[in-house]
Structure formats: C-alpha cells, structure tokens
Symmetry: C2
Subunit: 440 residues, 2 copies
C-alpha cells in the first residue's frame, strides 16, 4: 500500500474557543488566518476528545491506550519516575517499523531518563523539552535553587545515541523554541522529500502553554497582550509548515493534522477559553474534553467539512498506524478505533459512540452519543462536590454548558453507559494496568 506522509502538529493547552475557525480569532485579539484556511481546506471536528491534561493525552496519542492502563496519569516533576514504560508500543515505533522516517520536535513529557526519550521510543531524532514549559520560569523565579530542583534544559537526541542537553530552558529560550521546532521540521520534510521516504513529523509545539510568551518578532503584534501575540505566532508557525508541504508539492500525499493536547489553561493571566463549552483542562467538562482538530488531505478529505461526530485522541494512534500500514499491537487492549472510513468520508458517522474519561485514578465521566454521565462534580479545577452519590446526566445538545441534570427523566441512558464501564473494567482485569511510576 502507498504510505502517505503524516504531519501531526499538537498545540499545547489550546482551548476549543481560541481559533478563528472555532469562533475565537479576532474576538480574542488574535486572528488565525492560516489555521482557519487549513480548516476550510479539510475537516474540522467539533467533537474531538482528549484526556484531562498533557501527559495523559500524549501517552494516549502515542499508544492508543487510555492513561489508566499505562500509568501515565499526570505530570510529574523532574527527578521522580514518570513516562511510558518500555513495554508500551508507540505510534512512532510502529510507523518506523513500517518504513517511515520519524521525528519529534517539541514537548515530549513521556519519560525523562535514558531509554524513555523520544529517540529511544521510535523517533529517529528529536529536539525539544523532555517535560513541560512551566519549568522555563525556574531560572527567573526568586528563590529557585538548582541544588534541589533540576535545571531545565532543551535536549536533543538521535536513535541509538544518548540524548543530551542543548541549552537551559528559560524564558528567553521558551520564546524562541517554536521557531526552532519549525526550522527543524522544515529541514526534516526537505530531507525526506529528497529521499522520497514517507515521513511522520510529530510537532508538539510549545505554544500556548504558560508562560505564554511570544517570540520577540511577535511581541506587541496584536496590541492584546502576550497570549494573543503567541496565538498569532502559533498560527504563523503552522502556516510555515503548510507552506513547505505545499511548496514541495507534497500536499496531496500528506495527511496534515493540527490539534491540541487538552483544554485551555485555567490559571490567570494565561487562562484560555473553550468557547461555548464549560471548564478547562483538569476537569471533566466539555471544555476539557473537546479541543480543536483539523485534518487536511486534498483529494482524500473533502474540503470545508465540519462534523460533530465523536473522535478520541486514542483513535489517532490506530488510524494513523493503519494509514501507514503499520502493525497495531494485538497482545493488549487498544482503546483507539480505526477512523479511516470517517476521516476519508466513506461514512458520515464516526465509528465511535463514546468513551470513558478518567482524571488520574478516578472515572470522572462517560460520554455516549450526546449524553454525558458525571460520577464526580468539579466543573472548575479544585471547586466542586467531589464524588456524587447520584450521578449527573447532561444532554450536550440541549445543554452544552452541562448545567441541568436530567438523569431522572432519562435513566435508560444508564444502560449503554454502564455497559461501557463494565466492559472497560473487565478488560483491566484481564490486562492489569501499569502502576504509575513503574520502572522498566
């Protein structure tokens, strides 16, 4: 089979409501014409769902498995065990085995010790940060003591060699890193175009994670502050990658995906917006579950499509692996579903009707069709009722902000939802979950 190139750009903490094509853009002081154009050229999903935050989503994307299975439940500070165990099989591994050139430029957050860096886990090369971007504040913070907290670095590595520190990750290198990531991405595209090798470019950008600081070239661009300037920069960076794909005549042969890892930040002044949905990342509200997702593939994906069908980030593992002719592991539960038929327009419906949503060890909610059953109630991070004696049921079409519990009038919904829970629990008994912090 022919193997298309895959470009997968994942923004960091980009909420559903930020981009112009999702109702934000100019209203947020930050027009996003390049990403909006990408959406017009392809498929925009209104119901693409992720995990609760960075590590869970990235692990789910790389493995096709819910974090509760892999132990990648949350962000963990440097110096503590974290990341995907080597028994997990990554998307980069299976695509690499299938003949793809693979590169990771950006934020990894799935292991920060030898054996767990991207170049140890299926990527031919990587450049970026092993953990996350709040660390870029360390060296500017009064009282920071590098004798007790690790000095954060931008790193790089190539397959078969040890990864190494490149430079300190501080506020200034944080401003510049997305430019570097895109430069590396363009070179990677060019190299593989020259050798006619199919490639998988995974570009988990650093924008818009806090501290949301733009490249100096974009500082003051919007007049609406750092956040808007950074979003305009992000849009520009995405446009640079699109332009290179198009310039090299690779558009028809490249599935180009732009999405986010989780809902918007909740902390001011970097707090973002999920548009019409309620909540932020680290909650089980729709503003946490739904994030932007755009896929462009001329001749394969019809232009100008908008869909409210449910797709889950684990589906990306399965779908991209299948598109690349890669082998999907059959010795463990894979939660991702092959969405090729839906993505390519062979069917109008997603192959998925719902999914379970955990935060850390708690099953917070289940989404099924346009219903959502909440077992906990924490609509704003750290604010709520905790575990509910009587779960809340919302209809997401009639009540998009999840405000009116209608369980009493719709108890039939419990049947399909709780069957999903039962099936998942059964699979966890057959294939025990990995304990968080497990060593290899």
């Amino acid at each position: 089979m022919h193997q298309p190139n895959i470009v997968l750009i994942v923004a960091d903490n980009l909420g559903w409501g930020e981009l112009g094509c999702y109702g934000g853009g100019a209203l947020r002081g930050a027009p996003t014409p390049r990403i909006d154009a990408l959406a017009r050229q392809g498929l925009l999903l209104q119901n693409f769902n992720v995990e609760s935050d960075c590590v869970p989503t990235r692990s789910a994307l790389m493995t096709g498995r819910h974090p509760i299975r892999t132990g990648c439940l949350q962000s963990v500070p440097a110096g503590l065990p974290q990341g995907l165990t080597r028994s997990e099989v990554t998307l980069a591994q299976v695509l690499s085995d299938s003949g793809y050139a693979t590169a990771h430029y950006g934020k990894w957050h799935l292991g920060d010790i030898p054996g767990r860096y991207p170049s140890d886990r299926g990527f031919d090369s990587w450049y970026g940060i092993p953990r996350t971007t709040d660390e870029s504040q360390f060296t500017s913070t009064p009282g920071f003591d590098p004798s007790v907290a690790e000095l954060p670095h931008i790193m790089q590595g190539t397959r078969g060699s040890a990864s190494e520190n490149v430079k300190v990750y501080d506020l200034e290198s944080r401003r510049r890193i997305d430019e570097e990531l895109v430069d590396l991405s363009l070179a990677f595209i060019q190299r593989n175009h020259a050798t006619r090798k199919p490639f998988f470019l995974y570009l988990p950008m650093v924008h818009l994670h806090f501290p949301t600081l733009p490249h100096r070239d974009f500082a003051g661009r919007t007049g609406a502050g750092d956040f808007a300037d950074s979003m305009v920069e992000m849009d520009h960076r995405v446009g640079q990658v699109v332009d290179e794909i198009d310039r090299l005549g690779l558009a028809d042969d490249t599935l180009f995906i732009f999405c986010s890892d989780n809902g918007p930040e909740f902390r001011p002044p970097y707090r973002g917006t999920a548009g019409p949905w309620r909540g932020t990342y680290h909650t089980a509200m729709e503003g946490s579950l739904r994030v932007p997702f755009i896929a462009r593939w001329p001749q394969k994906i019809a232009a100008g499509q908008v869909s409210n069908e449910i797709v889950h980030v684990t589906d990306l593992f399965t779908t991209l692996a299948a598109l690349g002719g890669a082998r999907i592991p059959d010795d463990r539960p894979i939660d991702g579903i092959d969405q090729r038929d839906f993505l390519l327009g062979r069917t109008a419906r997603s192959t998925r009707e719902g999914f379970l949503f955990y935060i850390k060890n708690d099953l917070r909610a289940v989404k099924w069709r346009d219903w959502k059953l909440h077992f906990f109630w924490e609509p704003e991070v750290n604010e709520g009722k905790g575990k509910l004696e009587s779960p809340y049921l919302f209809n997401l079409t009639r009540d998009p902000k999840e405000e009116s519990d209608v369980l009493a009038f719709n108890t039939w919904v419990l049947q399909p939802v709780l069957r999903m829970v039962q099936a998942f629990n059964d699979s966890c008994k057959t294939f025990p979950n990995t304990v968080p912090g497990a060593r290899d």
Copy 2:
C-alpha cells in the same frame, strides 16, 4: 431622499450562541441555514448590545433611550401600570410621520391599555400579544384562577380604532402564533409593494420565549426536543420573509435586520446559550449584553462581513429613523447614535465606544472599548455578591468569560468610564427620568 423599506425581525430570548452563524446551529441540534445565509449576504455583528430583558430592550429600540429614562425597567404583570408613556416618541411614529407604512406583528410589551397599544403609538396596524409569552401557560396550569389573574389574549388593532381581543393566548395558540405573524407580514409586504409605499415591518417574533413550543408542523423535526424544533421553525419563518422580499424584487431596496431582544433564558428546560460568553438575560454579563444581529441590504451593505464593533440597540432607533428621513426628537436626550456610516461600510469603526448597562434602577456595569467595569456582581441570575465595594474590571478580549478582575493593573480605564457615568447622570438631572408605572 429615497426611503428604503425596513424589515426588523426581533427574536425573543435568542442567545448569542444559538444560531449556526454564531457557532450553534447543528451543535444545538437545530441547523439554521436561512439565517446563516442572511448573515453571509450581509453584516453579522458580534458585539451588538441590548438591555437586560424584554421590556427594557423593546422600549430602548422604540425610543432610542435607555429604560432608566423612560421608566420601562421591567416586565410587569397584567393589571399593573406598565409601558411607554405617551410622551415618548416611538420609531414607528417618526417613520410614519415620514411617510412609511408601519406594522407591528408580534410581542409588544410596552403598554396594555388603550392609548398604549402599538396602533396607538405609530403603527398602522398590529396583531400579537400585548405582554409576554409565559402567559400562554396560564390556562394549562393547575390552579389558575381567571378571577384574580387576567385571561391572556392575542389582540389586534388598527390606527384610530380600539384594539381588541382575538383569541385566548394558550399553549396551542402559542404554537401557531409565529406562523400567523409571518402570514400577516407577507400580506403587509405585498400590500405596500403594490402601492409602492415604503414600509417599516416590525416583526417581534414569539420564538424562542418559554414555553418554547414549536408549531405542530415542526414538532419532532430535529429529534432534539422542543427548543431545537422551535429554532428550526424560527429559521424557517425568517426564511419565509426573506423569500417574499426577494420574490417581489425588493431586496436591494430593503434593509433587512434580524436580531434578538436579550440574552438567553436562564430557566431549565428552556435555558439557552450565549456561546462563548457568560451569563443570561437579567445579568450584566456579556451573554446578556451581546445578542445576534444580522443586517442585509444588497448593494448597500457588503456581503460576508463580521464585526466586533460595539453597537447598541438604542442606535437602531436613531439609525433607522435617519435612514427613513424621519425627525429625531431634539427636546430630550436620545442615547442612540447614528450608525449609518458604520452600517453602510463608509467607516470600519462604530461611532460608539461604550454604553451604560442598568438593570432596573441599578447601574450594573459600563462597557467601554474592550473593557467592562462591573459595579454589581451577579454572574448568574439571583446568585452573586450584590453591590461591589471595589468594582471589577475585565478585559473582554483577553477574558471573554469575565473571570479575572484586572482593575488593580488598569486603573486608567476608570477615567473614560466614570466620565461616561458622570455625563449620563448630568443629563438625567437636566431631563428627569420618568417614574416606572407613570400614567399618561
């Protein structure tokens, strides 16, 4: 000067987030292709602002004056004094004096005694309800006693004659009234087209006010319940009026406006959505202030425009009167600003930078550019802190959900805002406000 026809359709309790062109539509289970098409053919405002609820907005629209001046502060039950005093000058009066045929089909809510009905206040004819739609529930409510609460009626009237009851306003006639209003509207358009008389059609529809029940022809249409069925009906009804204007070749000679009277309902199961904004009507949040507004006028208003410039419902009085060559009263303060230059694209900027927002007698907030200063805090109806000792300042671009008070860092904004308050208070001293419930 040439006098264009004016069609002004005002939906009831239609929140910012409901229509497809405002990010709702299919997501709400209710595609709105006709209104979306109208938006593509003209100008869609993202920052069209109204008063806190039905009576205040409708009085502001009819007079160009904030309700605090006219005493139209709130909805009042039948049998109690209410409505615009006859000393107020209505948009219908000035357009009628200027040679327009005028009709009111729908919900009035600006006076329910002889002398205050639409046909007493500038409209050649009217049909509809004198007050509001919750009354349609009366006769279906166990315990309703018509000896103590007035039996609600649909009424009609013509200029120079007494208005009269047509039929009881109950759940069944509530389902059918928008169909009747549109039928009357089409006949009115046809009559004036035949006589070549410029016309002002004011069509304050009953949808989506609670009880939000669709015409039987639309019941079950969406599979998403009464609210979605009603929105689909509303879209269809608007389309019927558009079609008639177009069929008669009147499009280029007709300013066609569709907007809402206030933010979404807050009470389940009829609770609506303001999309990315927070709050409902009866609050001072952006979800209350901003409502849909679409203006189409081929050859005059460029197609496909979207603007976040501030326009206020009082501006409609001034702008429509000016477009119709009507005389705007100069013996009293008129809060509306002539927005012809902005509407017709002669300038990209609104002539307005802000406005005061009252609920009943309280100055709740002032909006100025993309800042908003709240003097009270009641983000959800009946839930809040009341009057604030230290007002909250929000930047609506950076913080669309009004969550992070940034007054401490931006106290300069107090100067332009409090100058606006001072100027308004001065004008109220020179021209004393009408006491609510004042008789003629």
